[in-house]
């Protein structure tokens, strides 16, 4: 450590409290020029919170921020970017109604005559930024017309549009496909070469070991350790993160496959997907793999009754059913854990226990009248099975970290005791400890005879958990893989549409 240069930015004894939660308690963090520092920690460890403090979105309750040894404060996001700090945030914080170029430059648009905004100049600069990161996006299109991956690329371009010395990336790869992730790595190398200090937050260990030079570990809002990546192993890092060792990531399973619960034939939608058909048996875990934007979520949402397919049949336990709404799907034992937790999963504003019982109100009430004791009972049962971390059950879900919100959403569905559970990216943005819990839980569910559909973009997860995998590309089923055929190579080949060599 002695040979490293002075840090560009250094945080010391930073404390941040929210009503009822101490998100950060006297933590420290140093970022060095030309180096990538990985910030690791479980869900709710306070990673995103420190990012928001660094970018002027939150004000710390205590501690100091030193830039080049000078103490400084960031009352607004402008102050932080003026000090040369830029960030790609965990949530995509962009404007659907504005154009790509406007999104990239909002807040610091080039000015032309009379101090008015210079649109042409802005579009040109945006184009060159996008080209620079290998994104094929027209800067004049409206953001709402882009897919989720492209939106993320715009967010990256936006961060780079500020001439920064410190670049922060909070889970930048969560929504990106392989190709885009590779390009991101290249970009990181380029930034490093330019001498920028990079803070990289990720739950994916392969990534961290590939690109980071240093690490800092937080646990439950406290600083645990930091050092050089070259001096630690994966197991040590995990140990520091969770305060215990996590040995085996995917549970050993002996699938006991029962009779068929769900049979889908010829599901099609005018614009999103077509020709989808498969069958699913009790106790089975069926994986759905594909690149982001392959239409998996759209199909699952049609299956769950959010959108209506234009044709196709759905049989449950051999009986043909028409699912017109999520209420129908739930009544027929199909439930869906959505991908967009904040928008579609948790009802922020309602307490945890009410979130859990929302789809099971029929069970916790008598003749439509609520029984509180039953509600608390049900909520307690399922949240403790998922090892939820919260101060109390009547706390607003909005005050939980992302991973814990996900647990509440899963608990909500398990409480309905479904026949088929669809999990759309169930471990996206979840820390390694909770991830293992979710995986264990999934196999437990399957062992109890539940049929599980798991949509995932992570190959290890798909391979580790699924008994069978369906690959989708551009709205169609392109392969159904099982046993021997199930290899990383076949998955990627089918998902990307590459011909066999």
């Amino acid at each position: 450590m002695e040979q490293s240069p002075d840090p560009v930015i250094s945080l010391s004894s930073i404390t941040k409290t929210f009503p009822g939660v101490k998100a950060l308690s006297e933590v420290q963090l140093d970022l060095y020029p030309g180096q990538v520092t990985a910030l690791v920690g479980e869900n709710g460890a306070g990673k995103s919170t420190i990012v928001k403090i660094l970018t002027g979105i939150y004000q710390p309750n205590g501690g100091a921020i030193l830039v080049d040894g000078q103490e400084i404060q960031f009352p607004t996001a402008h102050h932080a970017s003026d000090a040369g700090i830029t960030a790609i945030h965990q949530e995509t914080v962009l404007f659907d109604e504005l154009s790509v170029a406007e999104n990239i430059f909002i807040g610091h648009t080039p000015r032309g005559r009379f101090g008015l905004l210079d649109t042409a100049e802005m579009n040109r600069q945006a184009q060159s930024l996008l080209d620079g990161i290998g994104a094929q996006i027209d800067p004049t299109v409206r953001l709402r017309d882009l897919g989720i991956a492209n939106k993320h690329l715009v967010a990256i371009a936006r961060a780079l549009s500020i001439d920064a010395r410190v670049v922060i990336m909070d889970e930048p790869t969560a929504a990106l496909s392989h190709k885009e992730i590779a390009e991101l790595y290249e970009l990181v190398e380029k930034l490093k070469a330019q001498g920028k200090a990079i803070l990289f937050i990720s739950h994916k260990f392969d990534e961290i070991f590939r690109i980071a030079d240093r690490y800092t570990v937080f646990r439950d809002g406290q600083f645990v350790a930091d050092g050089l990546i070259s001096e630690v192993g994966e197991a040590d890092l995990v140990q520091m993160m969770v305060g215990r060792s996590v040995e085996q990531i995917f549970p050993e399973r002996k699938p006991t496959v029962g009779n068929e619960v769900l049979k889908i034939e010829d599901y099609a939608h005018p614009t999103e997907f077509e020709d989808i058909g498969f069958s699913l048996k009790r106790g089975e875990i069926l994986g759905f793999y594909g690149l982001v934007g392959a239409g998996r979520s759209e199909f699952m949402q049609a299956l769950f009754g959010i959108t209506r397919p234009s044709s196709g049949t759905c049989r449950i336990d051999g009986e043909e059913k028409t699912i017109r709404s999520p209420a129908d799907a739930i009544a027929n034992g199909i439930v869906y854990v959505p991908e967009d937790r904040g928008k579609q999963g948790a009802v922020i504003g309602l307490p945890i226990f009410q979130n859990v019982t929302l789809p099971s109100l029929g069970k916790t009430s008598r003749n439509g009248f609520i029984r509180m004791a039953k509600e608390y009972g049900l909520a307690r049962e399922y949240t403790s099975r998922l090892d939820l971390r919260a101060a109390s059950l009547d706390q607003d879900v909005g005050t939980l970290s992302g991973g814990n919100q996900q647990k509440v959403v899963i608990a909500k569905w398990l409480a309905t005791q479904p026949k088929v559970i669809i999990l759309d990216e169930p471990t996206k943005g979840i820390d390694i400890g909770s991830k293992a819990a979710v995986h264990e839980f999934m196999s437990e569910l399957a062992a109890q005879g539940l049929a599980v559909i798991m949509v995932s973009s992570e190959i290890p997860e798909v391979l580790g958990m699924s008994d069978r995998v369906i690959v989708m590309r551009e709205g169609r089923m392109v392969a159904e893989l099982e046993g021997e055929d199930l290899t990383p190579e076949t998955l990627v080949r089918n998902a990307a549409g590459i011909e066999k060599a």
Binding site: R244, P326, K343, V347, G349, P359, D387, G433
Partner: protein
């Protein structure tokens, strides 16, 4: 995984403590203050008959406010309620001309309210239009139909027995309207706070997408809420028409804003998602008492409205100013 059971308590603060710090408690303090100021400033205030007369200042509006509270919690709004009163009242008046009896008149009033509510609800839920805009439109449309029917005429000649709803007394100074007010308050309290339906209203108000993904029939619940609001406007139309004994198209002009003011004063979040019926009940009393108290002091109505406006902003602003003040000192 350390399965050392992490115990999560049900609640951190006990319900009583919570109630003491609530909006309703604050409002109750305001209500008691208003009551005391009124009785000190006018010798006429503390008189059973006068207080009874004063309740008419708010009962009809409050009946609509209960349903509007649910609608606003669900994230929608209905600005056409006063116009629904006009249309329902017109329909009742027309029914009288065709020789309808009291029962038929009341049924027609309620039915027209329900239909108007369904019309709003249909435009909002089936066509997916924003309710604030739809109901600005139907606000003109419903009252406009009354004008087409009645023009510069008035309907009168309501049967004697019909007068009971707006002018009748159940016992001594206890009017039918105040009894109905309390019955409806209790019914809406149960509906919002004690039933699955009420729970889904809150869920929809906080996050309609997640509510839909949780199997709640969002559009159906909203449609029912619009019908309920229309129905309550119909109930108010029956009471008001009975109290006035006649119908003109200009009946209840401007009530929509008073109803919304009452709801907001009652602590219902105008953005949806939170609020309670007891709050609305207390707010109704506060507004009624304030207008009556000022009336006794012969303050012109327009000056009174300054006070209502200040009350509306002040009741929300003061606690925030106070906590800002505390934060600055601490």
């Amino acid at each position: 995984m350390s399965l050392a059971e992490r115990h999560i308590p049900d609640r951190l603060t006990n319900p009583l403590q919570r109630a003491l710090k609530s909006w309703e408690a604050l409002l109750l303090v305001v209500a008691v203050t208003v009551f005391i100021i009124n009785s000190l400033s006018s010798p006429y205030f503390l008189d059973a008959w006068n207080l009874s007369d004063a309740t008419f200042n708010f009962t009809e509006k409050a009946m609509i406010a209960f349903a509007m509270a649910l609608l606003i919690i669900s994230g929608e709004i209905d600005l056409s309620v006063a116009s629904i009163i006009a249309l329902a009242s017109t329909a009742m008046g027309a029914a009288v001309q065709f020789g309808a009896g009291t029962t038929e008149i009341v049924l027609i009033g309620l039915l027209v309210g329900l239909i108007c509510g369904a019309f709003n609800g249909g435009l909002v839920t089936v066509l997916g239009l924003p309710s604030i805009v739809v109901t600005i439109g139907t606000m003109s449309l419903f009252r406009g139909i009354s004008y087409i029917v009645l023009g510069d005429q008035a309907y009168g000649g309501y049967p004697r027995s019909f007068a009971f709803f707006g002018q009748g007394y159940v016992w001594w100074v206890i009017s039918f309207e105040i009894v109905l007010f309390f019955v409806l308050a209790a019914a809406f309290w149960v509906l919002l706070h004690k039933t699955n339906f009420g729970r889904s209203v809150y869920a929809i108000g906080n996050n309609p997408t997640a509510a839909l993904f949780s199997g709640i029939r969002v559009q159906r619940v909203k449609f029912i809420l619009f019908m309920l609001t229309g129905l309550m406007a119909g109930v108010a139309a029956v009471c008001l028409t009975s109290r006035l004994g006649s119908t003109r198209p200009s009946i209840a002009v401007g009530w929509e804003l008073e109803v919304v003011t009452m709801v907001v004063l009652g602590g219902i979040n105008i953005l949806g998602g939170s609020g309670s019926i007891p709050g609305v009940v207390i707010a109704a009393f506060v507004m009624g008492m304030v207008t009556f108290g000022f009336g006794l002091l012969n303050v012109p109505g327009i000056v009174m409205s300054i006070f209502i406006g200040l009350l509306l902003i002040g009741v929300i602003a003061l606690p925030r100013l106070w906590s800002m003040f505390i934060a600055r000192r601490g």
